[in-house]
C-alpha cells in the first residue's frame, strides 16, 4: 500500500494494525486452502493404511490395532501390476515425445521466420478448447482404423498432442530469451546449425525442459478419459482407468485397497513435482513473455 493509495481515505488504520490484519487474513486463507485441498489426500492416505475393519469403523485417526501396510500387497496382483507397467511406459513415452518435439518446434518458432508463424502457433492452442471426451470419441474411430487402439503408441501420440501446445509455446518463448549471438559464436567457431542447437541451445533450455516434463508427466500419468476410451482391453489399461475398472468389476468394493492404489497413483507426481519445483518456476520466469 503506497501513501498515494491511502491518501484521502476517511478511515485509516495504523501501519501496525494493517500489517496484522494482512497477516491474519493470509493465515486464515492458507489454513482454509490446506484443509480443502489436503483433507481428501489425508483421507486417502489414512484409509490406505487401515485394515478393512478399520475402514468400516471410520474415525479421523487410524487406531494402533487397525494400522497395517497389507493393502499395498495389491501391487503384486498381476492385473494391477500390468496397469502400473502400462502407465509407466505411456508416461515415459509421452514425456520423451513432448521434450523432443517441443525443443525442435520451439527452436523453429524462435529462430526462423515463415508466413503465418504467429497464426500457426495460436492455432495450436485451439486444442485446449475441447474436453477430452469430445476428442476421444472421434479419436477412437480414427485409431480403430489405423489399428492403434490398445497400443502404447496410440495413447502416447494422443497424450503428447494434448501436452504439446503448452510445451511448444513455453519452449518457443524460452528459446527467444537465449541471445542469438551465443549460437552465432558457435557457428563462427565452425559448428553446423544442428550442432550448435545440440551443444549450445538445448543445455540452456533445462528449466523449460523440466517444466515441460512435469507438465507432460502430469497429463500422461493422470489421464483417465483417453486411456479409458482408447485402451479398451484390460491388459492395455493404464492405472487411473484401471482403478475405475476394478471398482466397477467388484461386487463388494474393498475401499482400503482402492485407497492404497490411489495413494500409489498420487505419490509419483507429488515426488516428481516436489523435487523439480524450483526448475518449474524458473521455466515460467521468462523475461520476454
Amino acid at each position: 500500500m503506497s501513501d498515494a493509495d491511502s491518501f484521502g481515505r476517511s478511515v485509516r488504520l495504523s501501519f501496525r494494525h494493517r500489517n496484522r490484519l494482512y497477516r491474519l487474513g493470509l493465515s486464515v486463507s492458507a489454513i482454509l486452502l490446506v484443509v480443502l485441498l489436503g483433507f481428501p489426500l489425508y483421507w486417502m492416505a489414512a484409509n490406505a493404511v487401515r485394515t478393512r475393519l478399520g475402514v468400516q469403523d471410520g474415525g479421523l485417526l487410524p487406531t494402533p490395532d487397525t494400522v497395517t501396510l497389507e493393502q499395498f500387497a495389491v501391487v503384486t496382483d498381476p492385473t494391477v501390476g500390468q496397469y502400473l507397467i502400462n502407465s509407466t511406459i505411456v508416461t515415459v513415452g509421452v514425456v520423451l515425445t513432448v521434450l523432443a518435439i517441443s525443443l525442435v518446434s520451439g527452436y523453429g518458432l524462435a529462430r526462423f521466420e515463415f508466413p503465418y508463424k504467429i497464426a500457426v502457433a495460436r492455432f495450436l492452442l485451439l486444442g485446449y478448447m475441447f474436453s477430452p471426451i469430445v476428442l476421444s470419441i472421434p479419436l477412437y474411430l480414427i485409431w480403430d482404423r489405423l489399428g492403434l487402439l490398445n497400443s502404447y503408441l496410440g495413447l502416447i501420440l494422443t497424450l503428447s498432442a494434448i501436452s504439446m501446445p503448452f510445451s511448444v509455446w513455453l519452449m518457443w518463448k524460452y528459446i527467444q530469451t537465449i541471445p542469438e549471438s551465443v549460437e552465432a559464436s558457435a557457428w563462427v567457431a565452425g559448428a553446423p546449425r544442428w550442432r550448435a542447437f545440440v551443444d549450445i541451445v538445448v543445455p540452456q533450455t533445462k528449466p523449460a525442459m523440466i517444466a515441460n516434463a512435469i507438465f507432460a508427466f502430469a497429463i500422461a500419468w493422470g489421464d483417465f478419459t483417453f486411456a479409458y476410451v482408447l485402451m479398451p482391453s484390460n491388459d492395455a489399461t493404464t492405472f487411473p482407468a484401471g482403478l475405475f475398472r476394478l471398482l466397477g468389476s467388484q461386487w463388494d468394493a474393498s475401499w482400503a485397497e482402492f485407497m492404497a492404489m490411489s495413494l500409489m497413483l498420487t505419490l509419483p507426481p507429488l515426488v516428481f513435482a516436489f523435487f523439480l519445483q524450483s526448475y518449474l518456476l524458473k521455466g515460467f520466469k521468462i523475461r520476454a513473455l
Binding site: 541471445p179 549471438s181 551465443v182 552465432a184 559464436s185 558457435a186 557457428w187 563462427v188 567457431a189 565452425g190 559448428a191 553446423p192 550442432r195 551443444d199 549450445i200 543445455p203 540452456q204 533445462k206
Partner: protein
C-alpha cells in the same frame, strides 16, 4: 595470411538499402575500424564479412578466395560479439576449448592449448569457473581467448566494448591491440565510439547511412575530413560549421563572408559567388577580449575537464563550442572568437563534400 576485399557490396532489406556499394580492402595484419552512428550499416557490413548475413550484390574475397556465398562455418573467422556471448552452461575451459572440440582435436592437446591461450590472456586461474562468476573484463578475455584459439583468417569485432565502463575500456584497448597484433591477421573492428577507433586503428573507415564516407589513417581522418559528416563525427568536441559566401574584397582578395564574419582566403577562384560551408575544430578557435575583428560571442557555459575547458558561446552564427585553457572561466560575459584560417575545411553545402 591474406587480405580481405569487399567489392561493391550492397545489402538490401526489401526496399531499404542498409549498405550501399561498399568497397574496402583490409591488408594482411592491418587493423581497420568501421565507425559510424547506430543504423549506418557498419554491423551489417561486419556480419556480411563474417557470413552471418547474405550479400544482395557485390563480392567478398579472402585473399584470392571468393567467399561471398560461403557459410559462416567455412570462413574460419574469429568474431567477438557485443554481448560477449560466452556459453553460460560451460566452464571457462570448455568455452575456450569449444572451437577445438569442433575441429576434432583430442582432450589432452585441447587442454594444453587452452592453458596456453588462457595464460596469454591472464585468465589461467579461472578455467574451472563458469562465465557467470567472472567480472566483465575477465569475460571479455575469455571470449577473446575462445576466438583466437583456432588461428583465424580474419578477426572481427562487433562493438565488443560498448557495454563496458570507461576504466575497463582503457584496460582492454591495449590488450585487443596486442592480441590482434600477435594473431597477425586482418582485423575489422566495428564501433560507434570514434575515440576507440582513433586510438586502436591503422585505418578508420567512417560510414554514414550505408555509405563509406572516408577511409584513411586516424590522423588524416581527423585533420582532413573528406566530408562534413566525417568532420562532425570524428573528434571531440564536434567540428563547428558556418555558412559563408565567396566574395571579393575591395583590393581583389578573396573573402569568405557570412553573417558577422569575414575571412581572408584564396585559391577558390572557381567558386566565385557560391555558397560554401566552412568547418573548424573547437581546438582551432580562440577566445579574445571583445574586439571588432572576431565573431561577437556571449559566454554561456563551461565544461571543466581538468586539463582543458570546453566553453559554449552564443554567437550570431549559432551556439559555438571553443576549447579554452584549463583555467578559463567565462562568467557569462562578452567575448570575441577568432578563427585560425589555416585550419579551415571548406565543404560544398549541398553534398557535404570537401573542396578545400
Amino acid at each position: 595470411m591474406v587480405s580481405i576485399t569487399l567489392d561493391d557490396v550492397t545489402k538490401e532489406y526489401g526496399s531499404l538499402t542498409a549498405v550501399d556499394d561498399l568497397s574496402l580492402t583490409i591488408e594482411d595484419g592491418e587493423f581497420v575500424s568501421l565507425v559510424g552512428p547506430s543504423g549506418c550499416g557498419k554491423t551489417t557490413t561486419l556480419r556480411m564479412v563474417a557470413g552471418l548475413e547474405s550479400v544482395t550484390s557485390g563480392q567478398i574475397r579472402y585473399g584470392d578466395r571468393t567467399v561471398t556465398t560461403a557459410p559462416v562455418q567455412q570462413r574460419g573467422v574469429a568474431l567477438l560479439f557485443q554481448d560477449i556471448a560466452l556459453y553460460p552452461h560451460m566452464t571457462v575451459e570448455e568455452n575456450i576449448a569449444y572451437p577445438l572440440k569442433l575441429a576434432g582435436i583430442d582432450g589432452s592437446d585441447r587442454h594444453e592449448r587452452v592453458v596456453e591461450t588462457a595464460s596469454l590472456l591472464q585468465v589461467e586461474d579461472q578455467l574451472a569457473k563458469y562465465p557467470g562468476d567472472l567480472s566483465g573484463g575477465q569475460q571479455q578475455r575469455v571470449a577473446l581467448g575462445r576466438s583466437i584459439i583456432r588461428e583465424p583468417t580474419l578477426f572481427l569485432f562487433d562493438e565488443p566494448m560498448s557495454d563496458l565502463d570507461a576504466k575497463l575500456k582503457h584496460e582492454l584497448r591495449p590488450l585487443f591491440a596486442e592480441i590482434t597484433d600477435q594473431v597477425g591477421c586482418p582485423t575489422l573492428y566495428v564501433t560507434h565510439d570514434q575515440e576507440e577507433a582513433m586510438t586502436m586503428s591503422d585505418r578508420i573507415a567512417v560510414m554514414n547511412d550505408g555509405h563509406l564516407e572516408q577511409i584513411d589513417t586516424p590522423d588524416r581522418v581527423y585533420r582532413q575530413p573528406d566530408t562534413q559528416f566525417v568532420g562532425e563525427f570524428v573528434g571531440r568536441p564536434a567540428m563547428e560549421f558556418f555558412d559563408v559566401r565567396i566574395e571579393h574584397g575591395d583590393d581583389g582578395s578573396e573573402l569568405l563572408a557570412g553573417e558577422n564574419l569575414t575571412l581572408a582566403h584564396d585559391g577558390l577562384n572557381g567558386y566565385d559567388g557560391d555558397d560554401l560551408r566552412v568547418g573548424i575544430r573547437p581546438q582551432h578557435l580562440r577566445v579574445t577580449e571583445r574586439n571588432s575583428s572576431g565573431i561577437p560571442a556571449t559566454h554561456v557555459f563551461d565544461e571543466t575537464l581538468g586539463d582543458r575547458t570546453h566553453s559554449l558561446f552564443e554567437t550570431p552564427l549559432g551556439r559555438v563550442t571553443v576549447e579554452t585553457p584549463a583555467d578559463f572561466r567565462g562568467s557569462q560575459t562578452e567575448y570575441s572568437i577568432e578563427i585560425d584560417v589555416e585550419k579551415l575545411s571548406l565543404y560544398d553545402p549541398a553534398s557535404g563534400i570537401r573542396i578545400g
